[in-house]
């Protein structure tokens, strides 16, 4: 296996895979209850910790998988996009998004 596979995809396959992955993304988000602003916001009033639980279990599962695949040499990490760090924009952007989140609900 030499993941990531996207360089071998034709454009149509690439876009079809995108829709499919999006399908599961949307499906699990809805299953978790993230389509409800109320449920999302309840997190910040210490009433419902679903946001934290879902988000961190997702991160841990994906992180362990990625670490395992790259350790055994299946996943070429040099071809994987890692978001670059810009400390101030990301700090301020995060604060803005958090503030907008609690006002707007999503």
């Amino acid at each position: 296996m030499n993941a990531p596979f996207f360089p071998t995809f034709s454009l149509t396959t690439y876009l079809a895979v995108a829709v499919l992955l999006g399908f599961f993304f949307g499906f699990f988000l809805e299953r978790a209850g993230f389509s409800s602003a109320h449920k999302l916001v309840a997190e910040f009033y210490f009433k419902d910790f679903a946001v934290l639980k879902v988000m961190f279990s997702a991160i841990v599962v994906a992180m362990l998988g990625i670490a395992y695949f790259s350790l055994v040499g299946w996943l070429d990490m040099s071809q994987v996009f890692v978001p670059p760090t810009y400390v101030w924009p990301q700090l301020v952007g995060g604060l803005l998004l958090g503030a907008g989140f609690i006002v707007g609900g999503y």
Binding site: F27, S35, A62, M63, T85, P89, V92
Partner: protein, 457 residues
């Protein structure tokens, strides 16, 4: 039995009452289907351009090609929209087999009975002014609509299969050649019916109510009584049976003539159809159709596996705001191409000869909508509602949502990602910036919660 003539008061009362005609899922499918047909006809008409045969003038073909940058892009778009269409229909067909395919289509939409045949004959005679017989009563779809549905349901599989054969060059060159002809012929047949369908829905005054019922799901009782009497009767019978049940035996029976003025109890529009499910609840039903959300760790694990698959297949994570940005760029580049190409920010997304819409996130978002819809649909959570705190009005909620959305959007683009694209995906590959971002999101939201408590609690 045909509808009895109404008095003015009866008609007035009936026009005030509304009954539910379409389920939200049907309305969404209808408008999804309508937009697919719009896009596919617009691009398809421009794709048929050979020296021997074309359907549109050259200026139209040129315009469409320059809109997409190139012919190849336009073809890719046509194929991508078509495949999305196939997938959505498969999802509806598979998940909604019993309610949608069996009940909706075979029983309500295409089954022609004797009344329907007579309706067609009398309708034709009336148009030719050879008869003034009253039209036989109709079910929830009239015979004309049923004929159109028959045509469409016969042609859709042909269009889908020939489309896939062309898109992926399946079987052999000869088969692809025939697929082209069949694809065009089948679309041509549907379009001939579509012209009448659109005319009836959008222009024909008597059918105005049918058009609005596709937006609101409701029709007035008067319209139902006059145009779909058999269906009206069925709804009324259910209502009566329901009232009967509630009052434990008393209450009026019989259907026509209609009750004028307020009835014994003001019943809700239509009693919710409680469908008898056969057999004991299976595992599938327990897992997918239960109204509760999944336990957070289960949903989180599913989300994590999806994220892992995305990294393995695509070399990047899932996202949201980047996709919306691309939709916006496409509009900007279309309205003001010069500005988009030279703006410091938008020009990042604009490459000559390539649409900003041909990107992972753009198509992923289409999947998100479908996936979220299917999940909510299976669990019976689909409804139109304003999700707000108990102490505020709808208007306040709208204003807060707009304001919060603007701040959220700005923050997301400033940080180069949102909670999905940066915090979740970046977090999983241990990007330092992603963790800074995530912590500041939670800090600001927990901090702001105190100030916003009046609006949410």
């Amino acid at each position: 039995m045909s509808p009895a003539p109404l008095t003015v008061e009866q008609a007035e009362a009936m026009s005030q009452r509304h009954i539910k005609k379409h389920h939200v899922a049907i309305m969404l499918l209808h408008w999804f289907n309508a937009s697919v047909w719009l896009f596919e006809l617009a691009t398809g008409a421009a794709l048929i351009a050979s020296p021997y045969f074309r359907v549109m003038p050259y200026w139209y073909i040129d315009m469409m090609e320059s809109l997409f940058g190139s012919r190849a892009n336009m073809l890719q778009f046509h194929i991508a929209v078509g495949i999305t269409w196939v997938i959505v229909f498969l999802v509806y067909g598979i998940f909604g087999f019993r309610t949608y395919l069996a009940k909706q289509i075979f029983e309500k939409e295409i089954a022609l009975d004797r009344d329907d045949v007579n309706w067609l004959i009398i309708r034709a005679l009336r148009i030719l002014k050879k008869s003034d017989e009253p039209l036989p009563p109709q079910d929830s779809y009239n015979a004309g609509q049923k004929l159109f549905a028959l045509l469409v349901y016969a042609m859709i599989p042909i269009i889908m299969i020939t489309g896939l054969i062309m898109a992926f060059h399946l079987v052999s060159t000869a088969v692809v050649g025939w697929a082209v002809v069949l694809h065009f012929a089948a679309v041509g047949l549907v379009v001939s019916g579509l012209i009448i369908h659109v005319y009836m829905g959008a222009v024909f005054p008597e059918e105005k109510a049918a058009f609005f019922s596709m937006l609101t799901g409701m029709v007035s009782e008067l319209y139902a009584y006059r145009h779909h009497f058999k269906w009206w009767k069925e709804v009324k019978m259910q209502e009566e049976a329901w009232i009967h049940q509630l009052q434990g035996g008393s209450g009026s029976t019989g259907v026509a003539p209609p009750i004028s003025g307020p009835g014994p109890v003001a019943p809700p529009a239509v009693p919710e159809k409680t469908e008898e499910k056969h057999g004991s609840p299976g595992t599938f039903k327990r897992i997918f159709r239960a109204p509760e959300y999944w336990p957070p760790y289960v949903a989180g694990a599913g989300l994590g596996l999806t994220l892992l698959a995305t990294f393995v297949l695509m070399g990047q994570g899932l996202g949201a705001s980047g996709g919306f940005t691309r939709y916006l760029v496409a509009v900007i580049a279309w309205v003001a191409p010069n500005y988009a190409a030279h703006s410091a920010y938008w020009s990042n997304y604009v490459q000559p000869g390539q649409s900003p819409l041909i990107a992972f996130l753009v198509f992923e978002l289409i999947g998100v909508v479908i996936g979220g819809f299917v999940s909510g649909w299976l669990a019976g959570r689909i409804r139109l509602a304003v999700d707000k705190g108990p102490r505020i009005s709808r208007r306040t909620r709208y204003a807060l949502a707009l304001g919060g959305g603007i701040v959220t959007g700005y923050g997301a683009r400033l940080a180069r990602g949102c909670t999905s694209g940066l915090a979740l995906s970046g977090g999983a590959v241990l990007s330092v910036g992603a963790w800074i971002f995530m912590l500041s999101v939670f800090a600001a939201a927990f901090g702001g919660a105190w100030f916003m408590r009046r609006y949410w609690l």
